[in-house]
Subunit: 324 residues, 2 copies
Amino acid sequence: MIFTTNKAQSVAGLGESALIENIQDWLKAVTPQPPYGIGDDCAVIEVSKPTRQIITTDAVTFGQHFDSSVSAKDAGAKLIKRNLSDIAAMGGKPEHAVLALLCGPDTSLEWLKAFFQGIAEISKPYKLRIVGGDVSALPIGQFSAVLTLVGTADTMKLRSDARIGDHIYVTGSLGGSILEHHYAFSPRLDEGAWLARHSACTALMDLTDGLAKDLRALLPQHGSAYIDLSAVPIAGDAHKLAQDSKRDPLEHAFCDGEDYELLFTIHGSTPAADFEQQWRQSFPSLKLSRIGKIDRVSNSGHLLIDAVTNEALPWTEGFEHLKG
Amino acid sequence: MIFTTNKAQSVAGLGESALIENIQDWLKAVTPQPPYGIGDDCAVIEVSKPTRQIITTDAVTFGQHFDSSVSAKDAGAKLIKRNLSDIAAMGGKPEHAVLALLCGPDTSLEWLKAFFQGIAEISKPYKLRIVGGDVSALPIGQFSAVLTLVGTADTMKLRSDARIGDHIYVTGSLGGSILEHHYAFSPRLDEGAWLARHSACTALMDLTDGLAKDLRALLPQHGSAYIDLSAVPIAGDAHKLAQDSKRDPLEHAFCDGEDYELLFTIHGSTPAADFEQQWRQSFPSLKLSRIGKIDRVSNSGHLLIDAVTNEALPWTEGFEHLKG
């Protein structure tokens, strides 16, 4: 359990200084010595040559991004992977991170240790170093952690460079992430880096708030997305959810959020079959779906259009973070 | 008021996408265009030459770091200044920051606008750019913001390089910050940069958790701090608090925390009078106090010693973030 009524086993029982020593110990394999790691007013990063850095920040909050059904290790790994997915969406390479811990005094030390083990385990293969952080208090029963990640990107693709005529692709399958995928996903770093280098790729982002919402961010002025619904990859968990929700599995694929897949566009003049063959050679086990095309905005002014019927898609709302 | 029962005037009424557009507008003067500012998966920082970066992260939480008696503008400015104080403690220069907003759905838009105005106003003179961020939800009535700041430092002083024989100094005056100073302080950036370049300065940090706690972080192995209590600069607000608390004003100066002054050491072979004259020439209006010396650890093993009586100081606890 994330919180404990046994004060001796809580962060308040341990106190801040001892907690920070514990965190250094838990992160040992992925945190350098000060001043390059935890222990001074700032952490130091030596930048050895001119470079292009990318920076992103993301949180996990108990009750919002995970609950008691998710293990502490998976919650810690999710914090890192959410940020890695943003790095993947720029075609970048992760390098350094700092972590701000905001926790109720009753946060369990045992739980927190496993949370940091999750962080250390997922950071290792990516050579991500946790170089510093901050600890502060929240009310009883509350827990948030905010990670800020600095990476590098030699070449990259922005959201804003998609053009009319481009093909639209997504990786993996969409929807139903609430059942498991929201913490069990793999950030698409290799795929993002490959796309950033690929001359045919025009724009790239990761899917976090649902295709219905995120796709809009990719559309150029005067452009609408014409979607071939039969090509949209629906996750098994979206079908499972739809049985209970009585909603269309496609609605789950469009609106659920937390897919952490890549959404990108390929220049319209590129033969799609050639591109897809290159993809399969590089990433034989990750499904790629060409779900539609960007074309001139429809007469109706709608941005998401069914390519077969030419009617507006009924699913317009993605995941809304600030629900009333 | 930070929270509102009028949904139309809350962040939930506005929704996330419109909120982010508002934030871009509120920060206009201090946020560059994407990809160098808010609007893509990551923000881009072009590093034009090899350099030494420093990175720090700090939070402000409603009910912990500010309450309803602090204006929204002052709360926003405090978030920036807390981080600037860490940069000052390394003798660095602030450059880029990302901001993670965690807020209850009932957070008032009017309040939030003023919070960001406070951020923009304090960022401007320091040429600090807010380049990205994240918005996520907390339960009703909760608000936290986490800022991560990246700066540069050509020369710098760490905490770990103080030596036996060094003089101990503090800037400004200490204690009683809860009355006003905890948000009304000025981060000591010019002074920190000056000290980082000064050959006599051996170690440097900022005072956030109280002299009693922070001084320990500066002591080398086998070193104790011998403090001349008559030289410790007690803030007027520490005297004011002491009248009500019936505690010694010195106890407030040692234990209250949130002073955001600099604590540093000067090599023991440096004539103190010469150093202090240089200081006065550079910073005529900021009080400097030589409060003691580092010497061999006392027979009693205590780390903080009254230099006159040779007895352990009675104040050993600084500010504890994780109270039970």
